[in-house]
């Protein structure tokens, strides 16, 4: 194990930074909890029949008047907070990861193409990217959401809510991927190994996939991690504003919106527990992103 740590730059860097180890542990625990939510959550927060108003507004287990069944208390509907958060995190992560993947595929594809083709195509793509950056992400998401509401029939809207959110968030995050992929492609184009491939007559699609893309993966991974945090936050914001997920299928953002009503009343846990959870998750992901940046950029060491 020692020898392994000594010989791998990434592990060596990891062994020296307790914050990163803590973040990785937090992220793993949350991911596992979210993935296993249907099996490990004490109750099913989507099943309205399973909770009763009798249990409403129970405080967390360490406060007076708590019910031992509800570790982190209940909300005004009598919903178990632990179950709500686990399922909420699951939804948030599914949407965040999908949106990030959508943005990565779109952005990397456009960025590679723009960097390779250059000229007018590059100019058009990058101006679209500039316009995209000028629009706040939340505005793009609201726009997509509004269009979807206008276009889709009413009964289809509920089923497509998650997909609409993914597209909306993904569209506001692709620019980073595109810019990084384009810059790397530009640089790699003039590298001799790419020139050699061009001179040999290798197909451009193969050059992009085999020669250029592997050299871009490092920085893209960093962006993907940081953007995952942004995507989760954006989803939370949209849900908080009421254009995201409805109250009967609450994500973390929805939970926080519900909790807002209790901000100044005595039932603090309904707001603060999901909020703290969201903050811890996002901070952990960002720390990991920073760590990846160090791993992939030897000059910062």
């Amino acid at each position: 194990m020692r020898a392994l740590i000594r010989d791998s730059d990434a592990l060596h860097l990891l062994a020296r930074s307790p914050l990163v180890i803590a973040s990785a542990l937090v992220a793993i625990v949350i991911l596992a909890g979210a993935a296993l939510a249907p099996w490990i959550a004490p109750t099913d927060p989507y099943d309205l029949a399973s909770f009763s108003l009798v249990d409403a507004l129970r405080p967390p287990a360490f406060q007076d008047g708590a019910d031992p069944r509800f570790l982190l208390g209940t909300d005004d509907q009598g919903r178990d907070m632990v179950s709500a958060i686990l399922h909420g995190a699951r939804l948030s992560l599914v949407i965040g990861l999908s949106a990030m993947a959508f943005a990565a595929v779109l952005g990397v594809g456009l960025g590679l193409a723009a960097g390779w083709i250059g000229g007018r195509f590059d100019a058009v793509v990058m101006r679209i990217a500039d316009v995209q950056l000028a629009l706040p992400a939340i505005l793009t998401a609201l726009l997509i959401d509004g269009i979807a509401r206008g276009v889709l029939p009413r009964d289809a809207q509920e089923e497509t809510r998650v997909a609409v959110l993914i597209v909306a968030i993904g569209l506001s995050l692709w620019v980073n991927f595109a810019r990084t992929a384009r810059a790397s492609t530009f640089r790699a184009r003039n590298e001799d190994y790419v020139q050699a491939a061009i001179a040999m007559g290798v197909h451009p699609a193969r050059i992009l996939a085999v020669e250029i893309l592997p050299n871009v993966v490092g920085p893209l991974l960093v962006i993907a991690t940081v953007d995952l945090a942004s995507a989760i936050l954006l989803e939370a914001t949209l849900s908080f504003l009421g254009v995201g997920l409805p109250a009967d299928a609450p994500s973390l953002g929805t939970l926080i919106r519900i909790g807002m009503q209790f901000l100044l009343s005595g039932e603090w846990w309904i707001l603060w527990v999901p909020t703290a959870f969201l903050v811890v998750l996002v901070v952990a992901i960002n720390v990991l992103g920073d760590f990846l940046r160090d791993v992939f950029n030897p000059r910062l060491r």
């Binding site: 060596h12 001799d192 190994y193 001179a199 040999m200 007559g201 290798v202 050299n215």
Partner: protein, 586 residues
């Protein structure tokens, strides 16, 4: 004046302590240039950094003493050390582009440095000294030109400014780290002459670091040969280079391409380290494979493997305005060349002469604006109009200058080598491709298991062998080599040149060999072509060219190339003042 004794420099790392320099001693007297020569990893620059007190973290001087006059430099507290640096010891770096501040005028940089060390001098006197120094280093009209920024000077001029900057505090010792490596030979020769003159006139001591034995021969008084951080041999330059005692020095000298004669092969003196274990039967398989193809293809009718006629390449100049395009920059103008089948054509020129652009035009990587190219008598479609499936894409292969950039760091050697076999549908079976790739590795002198490794696990010379193997696997008949050895150490260069000669003879390859170094070209080429500013200056048989070049420019270039003949007492005349003046503004 400078005395270094028993210097040992260590770099503690997590894989243990690395000794970069071990038990090195040297001394420099006033008015003396002491050369440190060695290949990469010899510890030359680390010694310079230890003398100047600029060792990068986490390096430390583990043992030894460095004395300047009566001062023990290692015992000085950091502040005093800092004051001594600049005032008593100054430095000249390899690349004047990065050692001068691009945002300050030359004058401001000089005056700032002078006043930092002599605050009582006053602005006016500092300015006068700066102007005088610039004039002394050969910058004409110094008073006026010192108001300019570094980018307004050429590379050679910038290095003169850097030298003035190093001298402006009147130091006792100057440490010059590869001061002419980034310069063309003509400019290099002038800068070296300037350094020699300044050292003589001012009684400076100088430590001059270089990998180039020609530079050592030209200007140094004493030389220390280093290898792996240890002194191999030291003494007066004439004695060390004239009658080298150590085997390493002898092999280093033997590896230096001679301008004055053509060697059939470089004699390689084995020093240490077992050579790579190469199975001869594997290499034979590759050789049979290449020969079988050659025998199977009928000889094409044309006598010239490659012919270029009236080739022109121009790039768009910088835009003059929103709707006005700039004047095109002519990189290649009306060049006509022929490469006879089975021979080597050496293409020589300084940086910016258009020789690499010409190579790229032949490879179809840049779009010519005019002229024709023929391969085996058949027209070569230029640039983008050459289809991906064009037969010349396979038949003409290129070996690039920088072996660190010509192999994709993310792919295994085996995958890199299999690419041409699959691309040109030479070998449909993946297993057979792998076998051929390994056999080809053996042919270029690498172990077969290299196929499983990544490029970063190989040295520059080994990578260049891999690049050559990749080119050969396409079964080319023309090889375009663009400065294939200029990024390599001289002993490695000798090996790679030997390999190219072997391959050329065994497989009757036609090679276009591009280089800035006349001595290297002499070893390789049957015919020579000289380019300057995008035009062909001269072309002819190699031996006739070296016996007596016709063009004025070729004569100057030949005269200015550093030659070891100086040492051996051969009649290699120093460049005349007229010749030096002719290239001054290049």
């Amino acid at each position: 004046m400078l005395a270094v004794e028993g210097l040992t420099v260590e770099f503690p790392g997590r894989r243990g302590v690395l000794r970069a320099v071990e038990d090195v001693g040297l001394s420099v007297a006033p008015g003396e240039i002491h050369g440190l020569v060695g290949e990469s990893g010899a510890g030359k620059s680390t010694i310079a950094a230890a003398i100047t007190g600029l060792l990068p973290e986490p390096g430390r001087v583990a043992a030894g003493a460095i004395r300047l006059g009566e001062t023990d430099l290692l015992a000085l507290p950091p502040a005093a050390r800092h004051a001594a640096r600049g005032k008593r010891i100054s430095m000249i770096f390899q690349d004047p582009q990065t050692s001068l501040n691009p945002l300050m005028t030359i004058e401001a940089q000089l005056v700032e440095t002078i006043l930092a060390h002599e605050p009582d001098l006053g602005d006016r006197a500092a300015r006068a000294r700066a102007a005088a120094l610039l004039a002394e280093t050969g910058i004409r009209d110094a008073e006026r030109r010192m108001a300019a920024y570094p980018h307004q000077f050429s590379g050679g001029m910038r290095q003169r400014v850097a030298i003035a900057l190093a001298l402006c505090t009147r130091p006792e010792l100057v440490v010059a780290d590869e001061p002419t490596t980034a310069l063309d030979v003509a400019v290099q020769s002038q800068v070296l002459a300037l350094i020699r003159r300044l050292v003589d006139e001012r009684g400076l001591g100088m430590v001059l670091i270089t990998h180039d034995i020609g530079v050592i021969a030209q200007v140094t008084d004493r030389v220390t040969v280093l290898r792996h951080g240890r002194v191999v041999e030291a003494g007066p330059t004439g004695a060390v280079l004239g009658r080298p005692q150590a085997a390493y020095t002898r092999s280093l000298m033997a590896s230096v391409p001679r301008l004055e004669r053509r060697l059939d092969r470089f004699p390689l003196v084995a020093i240490d380290g077992a050579p790579a274990i190469v199975r001869p039967d594997a290499a034979d398989a590759a050789e049979r494979w290449l020969r079988a193809h050659r025998d199977a293809t009928a000889a094409p009718p044309a006598a010239e493997a490659l012919a270029v006629e009236g080739l022109r390449v121009a790039f768009d100049g910088p835009r003059r305005g929103l709707f006005r395009k700039g004047e095109p920059i002519r990189a290649v103008t009306d060049v006509s060349l022929a490469l006879p089948r089975g021979s080597v054509l050496g293409l020589v020129g300084e940086s910016g002469s258009g020789k690499s652009t010409l190579a790229k035009a032949i490879m179809g990587l840049v779009q010519p604006t005019g002229g024709t190219m023929r391969h085996d008598g058949a027209m070569l479609p230029p640039g983008r109009s050459r289809p991906r499936s064009h037969p010349a894409r396979r038949a003409i292969q290129m070996v690039f200058q920088d072996p660190y950039s010509s192999l994709n760091a993310r792919r295994r050697i085996g995958a890199i080598l299999a690419e041409p076999l699959a691309l040109y549908r030479i070998e449909p079976d993946a297993e057979a491709r792998d076998r051929l790739a390994r056999a080809m590795l053996a042919l270029v002198g690498l172990p077969e298991d290299a196929a499983e490794r990544y490029p970063h696990q190989f040295s520059g010379g080994q990578r260049q062998r891999i690049a050559i193997a990749r080119a050969l696997l396409a079964r080319p008949d023309v090889l375009v080599c663009d400065e294939p050895t200029s990024a390599l150490d001289v002993s490695i260069q000798a090996q790679v040149l030997n390999l190219l000669k072997d391959l050329q003879e065994r497989f009757a390859l036609s090679i276009l060999f591009i280089s800035h170094d006349l001595a290297v070209v002499r070893q390789m080429a049957d015919r020579i072509a000289v380019m300057k500013d995008g035009r062909l200056v001269e072309a002819g048989e190699s031996e006739a060219f070296f016996a007596g070049p016709r063009a004025e420019y070729s004569r100057t270039l030949l005269a200015l190339t550093p030659s070891l003949a100086l040492l051996e007492g051969a009649a290699a005349a120093a460049p005349s003042p007229a010749e030096t003046a002719a290239v001054r503004e290049m």
